[in-house]
Symmetry: C2
Subunit: 208 residues, 2 copies
């Protein structure tokens, strides 16, 4: 079905155009969304629109870790039960949510807002790296955990942060790379398998 | 990545909830959409929201064929070059767009707004069937083409329309079912292949 042409209504076409800007949404999916909304009550659609606009207008970023927050300091940074001496550096808020969901981490975060990527015109000054260095220099942070993607850009960013934090005395670590729990060895790529052997950990009877 | 839990912001969670109501959109995709919008200008997001609300509030349906339209009569029904004696009955506006895209049809449409589906609580009175019968009874329509999906519901609706139009003298036809152009016979299902043999058409040297 080729629906590239003729929309029967300019209003419809405008709405389809807007939806097709979303990542991974083509014009056919956008039309499906729009026709779905057309079948809803006007109030429902207005609430939908209001939620988006309010989010964009009123969203705040935590002034310490730059995570999205409804308050000046996010609920993680303001939680006295969390270990403020450990800071995990992540790319974006989705990574924070993924790590939080594991319930294995009790430290704080620092959301960079991306990784250094000269191809996309993203340099260190576009990211929250200065504020990370500032945060470390205040002296309360003992360990910085780098949890960026293991891509060229992630590695570049890791190295840049390493250089910037040299001499501050903070301990720098990266998350473990290895075979996923439940994965078969034979299907693992060589780099991951190699790293998982080099970075082997002592065997303990029960892992919690 | 399990992100079912904790959203760092109630505003964010609300926006994700709204997006995940869209058909085929789960919470992860919704979060992706929301984070994309957060990276856009406030004006861009406001335009996005305005396009949706304006569509819902100002959308009109053609009073003749019930297609979406910006005017009381849609651009198809008001086009004097189209053949008003042929009416193609379709389920929704996407079908109109699909048929229009073929550029093979010069008649008018009648958009039912769905098909009869007792399981979903959709009866004949929820669809634009009365207005179709009314339209036929006015006497200008010579042929009604049924172009509904070949599902149980589509067939039921076809039969219901057939019964309602009995005695009006209008010619009733259904679109041809057969092997798709370019498809291999061996992969076609038996019903389609059987129908395509029963409903064979005279061979002409060149099909336009």
């Amino acid at each position: 079905m080729n629906i590239s042409g003729q929309y029967p209504s300019a209003l419809l076409e405008k709405a389809v155009n807007e939806f097709s800007r979303l990542p991974g949404v083509g014009r056919k999916t956008a039309l499906r969304f729009v026709l779905f909304l057309l079948r809803q009550d006007t109030a429902t659609v207005e609430n939908f629109a209001k939620a988006i606009v309010r989010l964009r207008q009123e969203v705040k970023y935590c002034k310490t870790c730059h995570n999205i927050s409804d308050t000046d300091t996010c609920h993680i940074c303001s939680n006295p039960a969390r270990d403020a001496s450990v800071v995990c550096v992540v790319e974006n808020i989705r990574d924070v949510m993924a790590i939080e969901a594991t319930q294995q981490y009790r430290g704080l975060y620092h959301v960079l807002g991306g990784v250094i990527s000269p191809m996309d015109g993203i340099g260190p000054s576009d990211l929250q790296i200065d504020s990370l260095v500032e945060r470390v220099k205040q002296g309360h942070v003992k360990e910085v955990i780098l949890a960026l993607s293991s891509t060229m850009e992630g590695d570049t960013t890791n190295f840049y942060i390493y250089r910037r934090l040299e001499g501050t005395g903070v301990q720098l670590s990266v998350i473990a790379r290895g075979i996923s729990v439940g994965d078969e060895l034979e299907y693992a790529d060589e780099v991951t398998l190699g790293r998982s052997i080099v970075n082997r950990t002592p065997f303990v009877g029960i892992t919690s």
